[in-house]
Amino acid sequence: MSPANERAVEPLRAWMPIARKVLTPLASVALAVLIGSLIVKLSGGDPVAASMALFSGAFGTPNQVGETLLRSTPLLIVGLGLAWGFRTGLFNIGAEGQLFVGGLVGAWLGLLLGGLTPWVSLPLLLLAGMAGGAAWAFVPAVLKAKVGAHEVITTMMFTYIARYLVSWLVVGPLKAPGPIPQTRQLPQSAILPLLRDVSAALPFGRAHLGIVIGVALAVVVWLLLKYTTLGYEARAVGFNPAAAENGGISIAATTVKSLCISGALAGLAGCIEVLGIHHRLFDQFSSGFGFTGIAVALLAKNHPLAVVPAAILFGALSAGATTMQLEANVSTKLISIIQGLVIFFVAAEAVVDWVIRARQKKAVSADAAR
């Protein structure tokens, strides 16, 4: 073996991954926004006015900051779940369905538990929402673990099933009196307090306690991933299932656990959405948070702490979109184009990663090649 081989690592490269982790997602967003502007321009709009409207719509007033936080909340929580799944090598594309079930369970139990004090009923409802989301992920998880049915297809199918389930419940058994397909308003004990009611220093309109729960969860998920055997096993299976299995880790059990954790967080996001803003269930209560969450998690490179800024970014885009439509006459649909672009660039950015990793691997395996 040549001396060149003996040099096991290149310490100078150690900082590179960290810089890349921060810079390339930013570049992805910048590029996506640039293309978004181009689309606006080409369809006869004014990209500058649109951006200004977007920005002021997201951050212009405390109320608008509140809207941004409001929309970031479900993205943050569902994004954490997706990140956990990705870390285990699972693509929970159907988080939207688990989110629906979480909202459904929250609303249903909330209506039942009207008599309790919020101190008891809120934690109970949030846990129930998580359980609902986890349960909805459980069947796809078991199918993945036992027969290898791809979770991308099964969780997606379960999303459609969940939507029809909710749409039946709000016109059927849970329907409130009146023409609108929705449930009754939740009792006060089942409603998450607004930030401005918690403290006068937080005058953020409709934003509620959910964002605080979300940020706290980001820290919790990060600690779980890094410092518990649960997280260790999830990462091991995500990186190399065969080696994990050889180390006594059950791939099937880890798959089920991870997809259920992912589902639990999605369910919590849906539950918080119902308890925090809508205070009732109706069939359009989520505007695709489960799908936007994919962009959030990928942009954060599946790092739980990075999910927070990524969620706020997409929350701001979503909150500002309405103002953009009103003031600059640009369709809110532009935002979902930008989401797609961000995911695409993050995926394509894996190229940068891949090139560098491949080079490192090559250096290592070159001795095997000779």
Binding site: I39, S43, G44, F91, I93, V139, P140, L143, V147, G148, A149, H150, V152, I153, T154, M156, M157, F158, T159, Y160, I161, Y164, L165, S167, W168, V171, G172, F291, I294, A295, L298, S331, K333, L334, I335, S336, I337, I338, Q339, G340, L341, V342, I343, F344, V346, A347, A348, A350, V351, W354, A358, K362, S365, A366, A368, A369
Partner: protein, 321 residues
């Protein structure tokens, strides 16, 4: 419940009609996956094809040009997927998800920009059935005619195109140079490379072909079945098509038959809805049928079908091993 109201030629005819977009996309998925590239983007490609077909048909007033446009745009979107997954070696599922979300956004956005109202486009003239036979209306001869005409002769052109493609491609996959090389690419790309077959070219062609087929599937939805484009009208069909491809064991013929099974279940569910006052089941549960069936099919058959060995893996040419 009168059996004739359910078990009639129309049941089978609607099964074939419903199966057609699924089958076209599923065959597209088969070709792409046989070359080693997963194509979760079928959903977005189909949606793009459906929209482009409608928009161009509206603009030109010619539905067939719309069909052509659907195919061209299907190819264009799949070109992005091919570039990301073959050239850039990006994660194929992630890049395809980006396309699905992007396609939803772009079609929704353009619809508002072009037609000024969200939700749906203006209506378009649909393609008429290919044949129009007249036959006896009554008696045994009438019944026979109704069945033959209904089940075999009542369809629009793309329905027949799908059947022909399923048969021809199934033959081609096992009998032609193209088919042999395609199968080689998805099983062992390096082996194909070492005998001088270009992995990149073969995979690009396969992915583009799947785009053309999924685009055609979209054209069938708007230009033959519905007559307008509505937002997110594919409704998970791309994913169901992937399941059909798996159930059909990665063969064009199998994909078609699997799609036909889904089509039949869906057609039956629609027929049975007529009786929902008799058997008290809310319509939402009928709507769930294709999705539940997809899960059941995957659960039952996934373990038994053997996927192409190199599926989903980017090919690294200069890999030293």
């Amino acid at each position: 419940m009168p059996l004739g109201d359910v078990l009639n030629p129309d049941l089978f005819a609607s099964a074939v009609r419903i199966a057609t977009p699924l089958a076209l996309a599923a065959i597209g998925g088969t070709i792409s996956e046989r070359s080693g590239v997963t194509n979760i983007a079928l959903e977005g490609i189909m949606l793009t094809g459906a929209f482009a077909g409608t928009a161009v048909a509206l603009a030109t007033g010619n539905t067939w040009i719309g069909v052509g446009a659907a195919i061209v745009f299907g190819i264009l979107v799949s070109l992005i997927h091919a570039f990301a997954s073959i050239t850039l070696k990006a994660d194929q599922i992630v890049s395809a998800t980006a396309l699905n979300i992007g396609a939803l956004g772009v079609t929704g956005y353009l619809m508002e920009v072009m037609y000024g109202h969200p939700g749906t486009t203006d209506p378009v003239t649909t393609l008429p059935p290919l044949f129009n036979f007249q036959g006896p209306a009554t008696g045994v001869a009438g019944t026979v005619f109704q069945w033959v005409d209904g089940v075999f002769l009542s369809y629009t052109p793309i329905v027949y195109i799908a059947i022909v493609l399923a048969i021809v491609l199934n033959w081609a996959m096992y009998r032609t140079k193209w088919g042999l090389r395609l199968r080689a690419l998805g099983e062992h790309p390096r082996a194909a490379d070492t005998v001088g077959i270009s992995v990149v070219r073969g995979r690009y062609l396969a992915v583009l072909a799947s785009g053309a087929l999924a685009g055609l599937a979209g054209a069938n939805l708007t230009l033959e079945q519905v007559g307008t484009f509505t937002e997110n009208m594919t409704n998970g069909r791309g994913f169901i098509a992937l399941a059909a491809n798996i159930f059909g064991r990665w063969t064009p013929g199998g994909s078609y038959l699997a799609a036909l099974l889904f089509g039949f279940a869906d057609a039956l569910q629609i027929k049975l809805q007529v009786f929902r006052d008799v058997i008290q089941i809310p319509p939402q549960f009928y709507y769930m049928v294709p999705y539940v069936l997809t899960v059941i099919v995957l659960a039952g058959f996934m373990g038994r079908a053997i996927a192409p060995a190199a599926i989903g893996k980017p090919y690294e040419k200069e890999k030293s091993s």
